[in-house]
């Protein structure tokens, strides 16, 4: 459904529902990827590379190295075909416990 400011899709304004249980990481839907090379350069965390994929329409796709992905969301804004989605990082169960939890009251975010 169109919203007033829906010039493009890009990153969903609301985080995925599982994001309170598991940290979200990016995943490439390979069938959708058109190998445009736009996403690797926007990742500041060395989590996106282009890989050869014999049999793929474009013979290559982007690939997320999930150990490096900080879930920042920037690559979602770069992808012209919405080929990047959130998946839970099941290995890192639960959000990080925050040693400074009490100080959170004073924090802004």
């Amino acid at each position: 459904m169109a919203t007033l400011n829906a010039k493009y899709r890009g990153l969903d304004p609301i985080p995925p529902p599982f994001s309170k249980e598991y940290p979200p990481v990016a995943l490439i839907v390979e069938e959708k990827c058109i190998a445009c090379d736009r996403c690797p350069p926007v990742c500041f965390f060395d989590a996106l590379v282009m890989e050869s994929r014999p049999g793929h329409k474009y013979h290559r796709t982007a690939l997320v190295i999930s150990e490096n992905c900080t879930g920042c969301g920037l690559c979602f804004e770069a992808c012209p075909v919405e080929a990047i989605i959130w998946v839970p990082d099941l290995e890192k169960a639960k959000p990080k416990t925050r040693p400074g939890e009490s100080a959170m009251k004073d924090a802004d975010v």
Partner: protein, 343 residues
């Protein structure tokens, strides 16, 4: 013709600096920035242990608003909405990070810190110096900083303590707003070497489909190319109010923006968003366009035009004014509107 700039006693090959943030959180980014002949690098801000929670980031933490990626992924106007707070490692990681940067960098490295009480600021600043950084920037103006920290009671003491304790130059990064010139003067009085103007501001956005705030239900840091207009003004005001150099930051995406900041009195310009959205190569583009402008204008060094635009500024009462449309007579006589909307 040269882009070389002298700043805080350091000889920089360019007036462009990497601003503190995600383009300077990792030692390997130093090489990427140096490849682009950057002038210096301000590292991601580290927080004191009391603010340990700021080392943990929500996911996702960036969203581009008003971003039209159909234009080959490059929009001229956008807002970068962000929840990123401090450097995500420990203090020990940060000191190692500075040392690793210094081992490999040929350009100056500026450490960046955040704390609350003056003793903590001083301790962090001394560690930054000890780790080999060429200067330290005090990030007292993050859009995410706790609202309970006040400039007069907390930060003046912090700037004072850090300046007294350090040998290396101290930059104070200030936020936009009505207090900024007062704060520039206070920083200068405390002996700061330079001010960085202006940090991003706290903003907010709502999703009208779900009718809730976007991302994480709280205010976020916002900035974008539009942010340059109020920063231009603050830089102009500061350049006329203080003698210490100004490092401008906010919304610069092109050589034109850099030139404007220099014309308004800035010595250096710190950039980040343009790198995040358009890549590291945007630095090379800015340098090439800067050089072309200087060539065209016969400028040997930017020093020649620093603050030049301020010389033609005047007082509001000296602006030439003309009378507007006459408001007597017909403009004050009511004319009824007929059914067709005609009067």
């Amino acid at each position: 013709m040269t882009l070389a700039t002298s700043f805080l006693g350091l000889q920089l090959q360019s007036p462009l600096l990497i601003a503190s943030g995600p383009a300077s959180h990792d030692v390997n980014q130093v090489a990427l920035a140096e490849e682009q002949h950057i002038g210096a690098i301000v590292l991601k801000t580290v927080c004191s242990d009391k603010y340990d929670h700021m080392r943990y980031w929500p996911r996702p933490r960036y969203k581009l608003l008003d971003w039209d990626k159909q234009i080959s992924g490059r929009s001229k106007y956008f807002t970068l909405y962000s929840y990123e707070q401090g450097y995500s490692g420990t203090l020990l990681d940060y000191w190692d990070f500075i040392r690793a940067c210094k081992d490999h960098a040929t350009v100056p490295i500026v450490g960046s810190i955040f704390a609350d009480i003056a003793d903590d600021w001083k301790e962090l600043a001394l560690k930054v110096q000890e780790s080999g950084a060429d200067a330290v920037e005090l990030d007292i103006s993050s859009p995410h900083r706790p609202g309970s920290l006040d400039f007069e009671t907390t930060f003046v003491a912090a700037i004072d303590a850090v300046v007294k304790a350090l040998r290396i130059p101290v930059l104070v990064k200030l936020g936009a707003g009505p207090d900024v010139i007062h704060q520039c003067k206070a920083a200068e009085r405390c002996g700061a070497s330079a001010v960085t103007l202006c940090n991003r501001i706290r903003g907010f956005d709502v999703d009208i489909e779900t009718q809730q705030p976007i991302l994480h239900g709280y205010y976020a840091g916002v900035g974008g190319p539009w942010a340059k207009y109020y920063t231009f003004r603050h830089v102009a005001e500061a350049a006329q109010s203080i003698k210490i150099p100004i490092s401008a930051t906010g919304g610069a995406t092109s050589a034109e923006d850099i030139i404007k900041y220099v014309l308004l009195g800035a010595s250096t310009v710190q950039i980040l968003s343009v790198i995040m959205v358009n890549g590291w190569e945007s630095i090379a583009q800015i340098h090439a366009d800067l050089a072309a402008y200087m060539q065209r204008k016969g400028i040997h060094s930017l020093e020649e035009i620093r603050g030049k635009a301020l010389k033609t500024m005047i007082l509001p009462e000296d602006i030439v004014r003309w009378s507007g449309e006459p408001k007597t007579g017909a403009r004050n006589v009511w004319k009824p509107v007929d059914d067709h909307g005609h009067s």
